[in-house]
């Protein structure tokens, strides 16, 4: 065999060995993937059998079946292992053959040739070298620098367990009273008269109009033990959640004023500057009014004396485990504090776009706080909280999917946590009492759905909605009303086998939630048209074009519809088939919040200030 023949033979062996090695390697990879994908002990059948055995531990036949199956999966596993080992040996043989033939082939071809002339050009190579070195160094330093933006220092966010109580108690005295104006006519008789008008139980947790400090003490002293679970009747006396009791948009207070002028101070009992921006609306429990606010520096909860406007306490929602150090991206028209708080007479609850949920007692002491995971939300989380029967309901629909939780109001522990079959939404849950059962009703894409508040179990759902759902539902006379811009307005019977009773496409709201009352349904579009429908048939009763953006939701109070436009003008109409405009008082500043009502007064959050309006 001459040199050329040897080279040819080595080349052929090398090619065959190379192909063989590649084929074996490919088969090994497939086998490896299969082993990873179908992990024998993860067998569903085996798990089902084991679960069955837990329920029936004395079933010998089942035990035998599990043993047989276990043996089978082990055999399958070890057979695969054998295949891997055999494949490795074949791979080894192929690899050796390839390497040896390659070595022979290259050695046979190697000849002591003449030294090659040329090579690298010295300066060109050197210039390339220093430039690449520089690039490499800068890339490395750049990566190290960028790493700081992608690594949250959780240790800095940690609030020592031992300091929690001390910090909470020492913060109480840090409030700064910011009452801008207090009307002269305010006097001590106010409480008495207002109690009579709304029928407030003055023996409640914090009913007396006293100095704030005294009130705090009373609240502490009078708090029933164990906590009383308030029902619908007590809630009707309050304005404790987004859009009033149970979130239905109806207030049960009377003698609500219809005339005021915010700019001139007409009928303005007090006005206070709000510390931090927020699109949430005020909530009220007895003589306390709460708002939240937030920016990238901090998120806060403020509590004012409802009667005097005095700031009772203002607390930060900080040092919450899991809270992000870097604020999530939110748009200016949503912000970090869009969701409205909830209050139940014992605690006030707030949620922010960071996913932080926090509870303060009525004195401003932090009771609990937790982070639900930063919500993936391109505008910012805006679903408001709802509270009922010691459960804090959180609709947490994010970019990752639909979710709703009920948290224990006393501890923040999860009572139930359900995954919902819907996309991200911005609407808030409402509560309805339908045929004696309290349901949480939500609006989202695509489902309008009702859940058992005790268990979170889905009772009904109808897939009728689409788009970026912002408006919450309304409820009246056994029908749930839901709508969203570019979708439809629907009436649904909220029970098992729920179906659409009627639907209408004429006017749809973008942000404002509808309200239903005494056979009529009211709806505010973002382009300024306010419409009244017959709640039973869906036929339009009347419409009014105010020509100004409407983001705030209408409220029914004292037989009238109160609708705040974005310019700060309240459109007050008779809540009947006439829709007669009663008055259109202005606040003197922009407003996007929903008014709250209590004891013959209306409380409005403007862009900058919180107003108490009354006679």
């Amino acid at each position: 065999m001459n040199q050329q023949e040897k080279i040819k033979l080595a080349k052929q062996v090398m090619q065959i060995a190379g192909i063989f090695t590649l084929v074996v390697a490919g088969l090994l990879v497939i086998n490896f993937i299969q082993l990873r994908k179908y992990e024998p002990l993860e067998s569903e059948t085996l798990n089902v059998l084991v679960e069955q055995l837990k329920n029936d531990p004395r079933n010998d036949a089942l035990k035998e079946e599990i043993r047989d199956f276990d043996l089978l999966v082990r055999k399958a596993y070890f057979t695969s292992e054998w295949q891997v080992r055999t494949g490795s040996i074949l791979l080894l043989i192929g690899g050796i053959l390839f390497a040896v033939s390659l070595k022979v082939y290259t050695d046979l071809q190697k000849m002591i040739g003449l030294p090659e002339a040329g090579g690298e050009h010295f300066f060109a190579a050197r210039n390339k070298a220093w430039r690449w070195l520089l690039i490499t160094g800068l890339i490395l330093f750049g990566m190290a620098f960028i790493a700081s933006y992608y690594s949250t220092n959780y240790l800095e966010n940690y609030f020592p367990e031992s300091d929690t109580e001390i910090a909470a108690s020492t913060e109480t005295g840090d409030v700064e009273i910011q009452v801008l104006e207090i009307r002269d006519s305010m006097d001590a008789d106010m409480q008495q008269s207002s109690d009579q008008s709304a029928g407030t139980d003055t023996s409640g947790a914090a009913g007396a109009a006293e100095e704030s400090e005294g009130t705090q003490q009373n609240t502490q002293a009078d708090a029933p033990e164990p906590e009383q679970v308030y029902g619908i009747e007590e809630f009707k006396k309050q304005h404790n959640t987004f859009r009033g009791p149970m979130g239905q948009g109806i207030s049960y207070h009377k003698n609500i004023p219809v005339e005021w002028n915010g700019a001139q101070g007409q009928n303005v009992i007090w006005k206070v500057a709000i510390s931090k921006k927020g699109y949430n609306s005020p909530v009220i429990w007895d003589d306390r009014i709460f708002v939240a606010g937030g920016d990238s520096e901090s998120r806060i909860v403020s509590c004012y004396d409802r009667l005097t406007g005095q700031l009772l306490w203002e607390k930060r929602a900080d040092n919450i485990p899991g809270s992000p150090a870097k604020m999530p991206n939110v748009t200016d028209d949503t912000g970090l504090s869009a969701p409205t708080m909830a209050v139940d007479g014992y605690r006030a609850y707030a949620i922010f776009a960071t996913g932080d949920v926090i509870a303060f007692d009525m004195e401003g002491n932090r009771v609990w706080a937790r982070n639900l995971g930063v919500p993936q939300n391109h505008y910012g989380h805006s679903s408001s909280l709802m509270v009922w029967d010691q459960k804090l309901i959180v609709q947490y629909d994010t970019g990752k999917g639909g979710r709703m939780l009920a948290l224990d109001t006393k501890s923040g522990d999860t009572e139930w946590d359900i995954t919902r079959d819907n996309h991200i939404s911005w609407a808030s849950p409402i509560l309805i009492d339908h045929k004696g059962q309290i349901q949480v009703v939500t609006n989202s894409d695509p489902n309008v759905a009702g859940y058992d508040i005790q268990t979170g179990e889905e009772i009904w759902k109808v897939a009728v909605m689409m788009g970026e759902v912002g408006p919450s539902c309304a409820y009246s006379n056994g029908l749930v009303f839901a709508n969203n811009e570019y979708a439809s307005l629907v009436a649904i019977n909220p029970e098992q086998g729920a179906s659409v009773q009627w639907e209408n496409y004429d006017y749809l709201s973008e942000a404002a939630s509808p309200v239903a009352h005494e056979g009529l349904l009211y709806l505010a579009t973002s382009y300024g048209v306010f419409v009244c429908y017959d709640a039973k048939t869906g036929e339009q009763v009347w419409e009014k074009d105010f020509g100004v953006t409407l983001y705030s939701s209408p409220m029914i109070a004292d037989g009238k519809v109160y609708l705040m436009d974005n310019a700060g003008v309240m459109h007050i109409m008779k809540a009947d088939r006439s829709g007669t405009i009663v008055s259109e008082p202005g606040l003197g500043e922009a407003s996007y919040a929903i008014p709250a009502f209590a004891d013959g007064r209306i409380y409005i959050r403007g862009e900058e200030s919180l107003y108490c309006i009354g006679k």
């Binding site: 040996i89 040896v100 390659l102 070595k103 022979v104 030294p115 690298e120 050197r126 070298a129 899991g322």
Partner: protein, 424 residues
């Protein structure tokens, strides 16, 4: 005959390498109800002190013999057989441990942790190759390093790599040794050992990923000779520094170089420096280079500060490699995991009786150490970068083909190409 030997060596190396490719994952034990008792897991006894000193003696013996074979005997064949011995003894018999490369971490830890006592054998393993390098070049790399040995035996068709690629890749070992020292100094991890690509092959056991990485490096090594040594080896940084000052380094030719250029392509590691081209080294070029050299020299402090600042920004991320920091952040971000009974780390922490406050405090101290450490690491990398940039503008005068003292592994291949000792 020579070719047959090489083939045999190759065959043997591949047999050993692939024989553990089928390393198994642990399979859960069956649950017996027949009264059978699973035997307790036993921990092997540590190696006897006498045997550890024997290892030191073997190391000294191998390096001495390698030095003799390189300097005196000029025998590439001798080095080859010594390499095989090293692979068998320090590789497969001693399972790649103890080794000077990993000992960097032991020495570092001994310096920074007063509670850690380093054994004399580890210290000797760390120092001896450096001492040999200071006098005779990288004798350790030539024949005493099991990692180098396994790679050296699979060099089949090495290709020459452009100098700018080599120089750029030469920055990586500095990053690696810097991180290894930082992690060892903070008691975080021994990353050199954890990510040793060949120890799984030596032990015939290990994670698939690491064995796969080792095999991948060996396959790469068919064409890009000794990739781990040239691109990653952290100990190579120290050996390179020592070897630069070696008094009696390997020479290609036993007497005067005749500039025959036959050795030019003999080195698979591109570690032979050609004589200076006088057309290149003009007076004007020397002046110009000197100016650039000075400018880059003045920039060195800038690189040090820039590197320190930039790398210090990554201290939060890097410190997460420490188990205490990782655990504390995990529990802060997800306090609900405390009830996860399947997470053994969390359960171990809860059962330790240590409070969350204590854990976070300890983690904060460690993070503080990382803040300082990353400043130093960044400063070091800035210094290295600055010096490497300066070095590009040195125009040395060379009349002969000579091995690059820092990069040469003293394998002796070039000696075989030199006709001088055969001719004269």
């Amino acid at each position: 005959m020579k070719r047959q030997q090489q083939l045999l060596i190759l065959l043997f190396g591949f047999l050993l390498m692939f024989s553990m490719a089928g390393a198994q994952q642990r399979f859960p034990k069956p649950e017996f109800e027949s009264g059978y008792m699973q035997p307790d897991t036993t921990t092997p006894e540590p190696r006897a002190a006498a045997m550890e000193f024997f290892d030191v003696l073997v190391l000294i013996g191998v390096m001495s013999l390698a030095t003799y074979l390189i300097i005196r005997k000029r025998s590439r064949r001798g080095i080859l057989w010594l390499t095989v011995f090293t692979l068998l003894y320090f590789g497969f018999y001693r399972n790649g441990c103890i080794c000077p490369i990993g000992s960097i971490q032991n020495v570092t830890m001994a310096i920074f942790d007063p509670g850690y006592k380093i054994s004399i054998t580890i210290l000797l393993f760390f120092l001896l190759p450096l001492i040999f390098a200071l006098f005779y070049g990288r004798a350790y790399c030539a024949a005493a390093c099991p990692l180098g040995a396994i790679q050296d035996l699979v060099v089949i068709k090495p290709v020459s790599v452009p100098s700018w690629v080599r120089k750029t890749l030469g920055f990586i070992p500095h990053v690696y040794i810097g991180l290894a020292v930082l992690f060892a100094a903070t008691g975080t991890d021994f990353i050199i050992c954890r990510y040793d690509p060949f120890v799984g092959i030596f032990r015939m056991d290990g994670p698939y990923l690491m064995i796969g990485l080792g095999i991948a490096l060996l396959l790469l090594g068919l064409f890009f000779a000794r990739p781990y040594c040239r691109v990653f080896c952290p100990y190579g940084v120290l050996l390179g520094w020592m070897s630069r000052f070696s008094r009696k380094h390997i020479t290609i030719t036993p007497s005067k170089c005749i500039n025959c250029k036959l050795c030019k392509d003999s080195c698979p590691f591109d570690a032979i420096e050609a004589p200076t081209d006088e057309k290149v080294r003009t007076e004007q070029a020397v002046r110009k280079n000197m100016r650039s050299y000075v400018i880059f020299g003045l920039l060195v402090p800038v690189w040090i500060v820039l590197g320190g600042f930039a790398v210090s920004q990554s201290h939060v991320l890097l410190s997460r490699a420490h188990p205490d920091v990782y655990l504390s952040e995990l529990l802060i971000a997800h306090p609900e995991l405390k009830s996860d009974t399947e997470n053994l780390d969390i359960q171990a922490f809860l059962e330790s009786g240590k409070s969350m406050d204590q854990l976070v405090e300890e983690a904060s101290v460690i993070r503080g150490e990382f803040r300082t450490g990353t400043w130093i690491l960044g400063g070091y990398l800035g210094l290295v970068l600055g010096i490497m940039l300066m070095n590009q503008f040195i125009l040395r005068k060379r009349d002969d083909y000579v091995p690059h003292k820092r990069d040469c592994f003293s394998c002796g291949r070039c000696m075989d190409y030199c006709p001088v000792d055969k001719t004269f």
